[in-house]
Structures are given as structure tokens and as C-alpha cells.
């Protein structure tokens, strides 16, 4: 059994240490925000945060995660009380098919946590590893800027887990 801390809660996982984090999140803990895209760490749809940094969960085996904290999109906010990054993506209608969006939001969140006012160029450079086939890139850019503004306002404090850990 391996102890894994996800969104502030410990889970006892019965899996081989070489199991990719993504499989554990989706199959064992039933957190389905992170998506399987390429399985090679090349599309970004499986991105989650580990200790506040964006990580490609499909190429991250459990054995690398001892003592580290995993945050998924579910850890940022809920449907009733979305986090600023989630509100911003909704308000900008930044998702079309939505498959890439959870990963995009997680890397954007990691960026905003270390740089609360990123420039357009910084957002582009940061999100470069993420592929979006629908072509909503311009809306995604606007959504990240909006999230940056939302995080400045009082009512946008994070709701559940993840941000302030």
C-alpha cells in the first residue's frame, strides 16, 4: 500500500510503485478531471499540480510522489463554488470540447501562484506544452488574465483545497 496525499486527503493506494499517477487518480480515487491524451507527456491534458508545480501525471509514477502533495482540478473548487481559475474559464467560455481544459487550468493555476500578474508572453510560454485542437487559445489567454484579476478580489478566495497549502 502506498500513501498518497491528494487535495489534502490521504489515500491508501493498492498499486505498483511504477503506476502512473494519472491511472491512480482516475481509476482508484475516481478524480476524472485529469485526462488521458497521449500517454507520452506531450499534450498536457493530464496535468495536475505536485507541491504547487505543474506535472504531467501520465509520465509520473507513484514512486516519485512520496511525501509530496498532489492537487487536481477538483481540489481547486466545486461546481457550486468554483475557484477563480474555473470561474474565469467559464466566464470567457474558454472550453469547446473541453478535453484539454483541465490541464490548461492546472498549469495556469501553477503559473498564477508564483506570478500573480503574468504577461501575455509569459502565459503563452507557460502553456506551450498544452495542445488544444478546438482552437480556443485566444479565449484561454483571456481566461488566464481574468483569473489573475479575479484572484485579486475578495470574493475569489479559493474554496476547497489546494491553493493555500
Amino acid at each position: 500500500m502506498i500513501a498518497l496525499k491528494v487535495n489534502g486527503l490521504y489515500h491508501e493506494i493498492d498499486a505498483d510503485p511504477d503506476t502512473p499517477l494519472l491511472y491512480v487518480l482516475r481509476d482508484e480515487i475516481k478524480l476524472n478531471a485529469a485526462k488521458f491524451g497521449c500517454g507520452l507527456g506531450q499534450c498536457g491534458s493530464c496535468t495536475v499540480m505536485v507541491d504547487g508545480k505543474a506535472v504531467l501525471s501520465c509520465v509520473t509514477p507513484l514512486l516519485l510522489l512520496e511525501g509530496k502533495q498532489v492537487t487536481t482540478l477538483e481540489g481547486l473548487g466545486t461546481i457550486e463554488a468554483p475557484a477563480p481559475i474555473q470561474r474565469a474559464f467559464m466566464e470567457e467560455q474558454a472550453a469547446q470540447c473541453g478535453y484539454c481544459i483541465a490541464g490548461m487550468m492546472m498549469r495556469a493555476q501553477a503559473l498564477l501562484q508564483r506570478n500573480s500578474k503574468p504577461t501575455d508572453d509569459e502565459i503563452r510560454a507557460e502553456l506551450e506544452p498544452h495542445l488544444c485542437r478546438c482552437g480556443t487559445h485566444m479565449r484561454i489567454l483571456r481566461a488566464v488574465h481574468r483569473a489573475s484579476r479575479l484572484m485579486d478580489t475578495a470574493d475569489a478566495s479559493p474554496t476547497v483545497h489546494g491553493r493555500a497549502q
Binding site: 510503485p17 511504477d18 507520452l40 507527456g41 506531450q42 505536485v50 508545480k53 505543474a54 506535472v55 504531467l56 509520465v59 509520473t60 509514477p61 514512486l63 516519485l64 501575455d120 508572453d121 509569459e122 503563452r124 510560454a125 506551450e128 485566444m138 479565449r139 489567454l141 483571456r142
Partner: protein, 448 residues
Amino acid sequence: MIASVIAGILIAGAIAAFALAWRPAIATIEPPAPQSFDAALVKRGRDLAAIGNCNDCHTVRGGKAFAGGFPVPTPFGTIYSSNITPDAETGIGRWSEAAFRRAMRSGVDRDGQHLYPTFPYDHFTNVTDADDQALYAYLMTRQPVHAPAHENQLSFPLDQRLVIAGWKLLFLRHGSYRPDNTQSAEWNRGAYLVEGLAHCGACHTPRNALGAERASAQFAGGDVENWHAYAINAQSPAPVPWDADALFAYLRDGWHPDHGVARGPMAQVVSNLSEVPQSDIRAIATYMAAVFGAPTADRKRRGEAVLAQAKSPAAQASQVDAAGASIYAATCATCHEAGRPLPYGGVNLALSTAISSPDPRNAANIVLSGVRPVEGERSPIMPGFASSMNDGQISALLNYLRARFSNQPAWTGVEKTVEDARRTQTVFLLTSPGPRDAPADATQRDKP
């Protein structure tokens, strides 16, 4: 202490050279119209500029081509590349061909100021008048970009350009390239390019305390931009010895099945070379194969053994780092031992020069940053592990890879190397302003 000794030597050299140091300005010209240059000459200049890798130093990542401003870290401070677009105010738009030629040959700008040898005129001095003419034609027909020079970050007295005259007196040899009539025309063409415009030694030859290439250790390996440029002579650490055919394929395609993929600063070099006439790449390969030298029988046998090992499941090393072995098996082996051919599969690490190199720096860089896809091309890929592995995990992994996949003694100071690599990797990421060709105002386009 060393710095002050160096400074003393340079000052002494500069004073001695004072009489010789002064260079006159060359008169400005009206920027010539692009149409005034012959198209065939411009095309030849384009190929030569690619061989010279000019865009690499003279373009900021994500910035306008040839507009300069790229910071080159040196042991003496940071030197910024200059704007070599034909902009009249901030570039070389008012430079005559004679002024351009003087810069290439002697490292002196149009005003008569000495240029720092980060601009490798110790190699470019070998470039012929005809090739300088073509390079000039190519650069003068690029898009002018208004981009004022960055102030270099050098301390006194190195910020005084007069000291460069002393450096040149010691290290700049005009006409050092001489054709060798006992060799083939192809060899000579390769030698001319390698020793001149391609300036391979600028990275691959170690430098002395004054920053000049050590003639006695030509191509013995150097350090550049936080990467190790491997020895490319008889001391090459490549597990399989290089030959002319392998060099040709690697320089043209950017990878070779027995050697792996070019990355780090070499990635830009091979990207540029992919566009030049194959005869020139063949010539470079022929000359460099001679520089590597024919492998000894023993070296050849070891190379064949490594190739055989890479094709069959490798035996475990006797002294295995257990943590490193688990990380390799779970994280790396799925690509690096999948048997999928290069460039899209991972190279079997028994063939990797990075693992057999005396310096773990390149291996650390690659584990941290991965291999980014090349924009608009089918290219090799590897995700970086900077965010998912801590320094201890990467060190354990590297120690394991060294023990299992090389015949070399264990590296020392791996953890320190990984720390350094992580720090400079962060700097690199911060200096990349963004993907190339991004529109200036991104939010304009999809408004209804």
C-alpha cells in the same frame, strides 16, 4: 585574485598594444536597397549564414531574427549580441561591405571600436572575401529591426574595449587557415568551413584563463551556455566511434540511430544545417571524421559490443542504485527500451554520449527539461521532469544510468550538478519570452 591578475595582464597587453589599437571609423553609406543585391548572391549568403549559425546568437528566443540582444554568459560577465539587421539606426544598415568585412576579419565595428571575441572573429578571419560578400548581401536584405544595443555586464577594466586589442595581439591569427594540398578538395572545403565560418571550436575547444581557445587542446571539449560541448577529437566520449557517414547523417538530420539526438545548443546548429547544400555537410563530416581519427581496434570492438548490447535486453549493472533503478524502470524505460526506432523512440542509453561523458551536466539538463518539439517539424520529443523529480531523485537516477549504461567510473558531484542545472534551467525559462512569431497583440484577433 585571479581576476586581478587577468586584469593586470590585459591592461599590460592593452598598453603595449596602444599604438596598434586604434582603428579608424569607416564612412557610413546610405542603406542600400534590397533589390540592389543579386538574388543568387543572397541565396549563397543564406546558406553561409546557416553554416555560421548566425541567427543562434544574434536572435533572442522568440524575438525578431538577427535583431541581437541575446545574453551570452562568459566567465568575465554577460555580453549581449548585436543587431545585425540592416536597420539604419541600431543595426548595420549604414555599414559598407568593407566595414562588414573588417568586422568579420578583425573584430572591429564600423565606428572603429574593438568587438569582444564572443563574436568568433578568431574563426571568421578565415572567411574569404567572396563569402563575406555573400553574407553581407544576405544580411542587408533581411527585415530591418529597430533594436538598440544592450549594455554589456562587464566590470572594469574588461568594459574598456581597448583591452580587446591586447587580447587580439595575443590570440587573433589572421590567415591561420591554409589549404592542405595533400588532402582531397572535400577535406579542404570541410576544413575551411569548420575552422572558419562554422566555428565549431568556439564551443568544442576548451578555453584558457583569458577566454581564448587552447590551441594545444583543439576540439577536446568545452563548456558553453551551461552545457558541455563534447570532445570531438580522439578523446570523444561517444560509446560508438563516429565516422564520416554518421556525422553526415547527424549534422543533416539532427540525430543518428547509433548516437541519439542533437539537443542543447547543438539543436540550433543542426536545425540550421538541415537547410544548407548537402555537399557542404559532407565536406564538414569528412574533415571532422579525420579530426576524430580512425578508432583503434579496441575502441571499435567496444563500440560494436555497445551496439549489440543496445539491441538486446541489457544486463543489470553489478552495483545498482536501487532507488535510481526503480525510477528508471518506471519513468524512462517505457520509451528508452521500447525498441521504437529513433528519432521518435528514446535512444538506448548505452549509446548515449551524455551518459558516457565525463561531465553529468548534459544528462541532468535533459532529465530536467526534456526535449522540446521543434515548431512546424516532425521532431523527437521527451517530457522534462523538473517538476516531478527532486534533486535527490534525479541524482539517484543519473548515478544508476552511469553505472548501468556506461563503462566509465562513477561521476562525482552529481547532486551539485543537478542543483546548478535546475537553477540555470529556471533562468533559461525566464529568458524565453514566448513562442516564435506570436502576434504582438494577442487579444485582437478573435473579437467578433
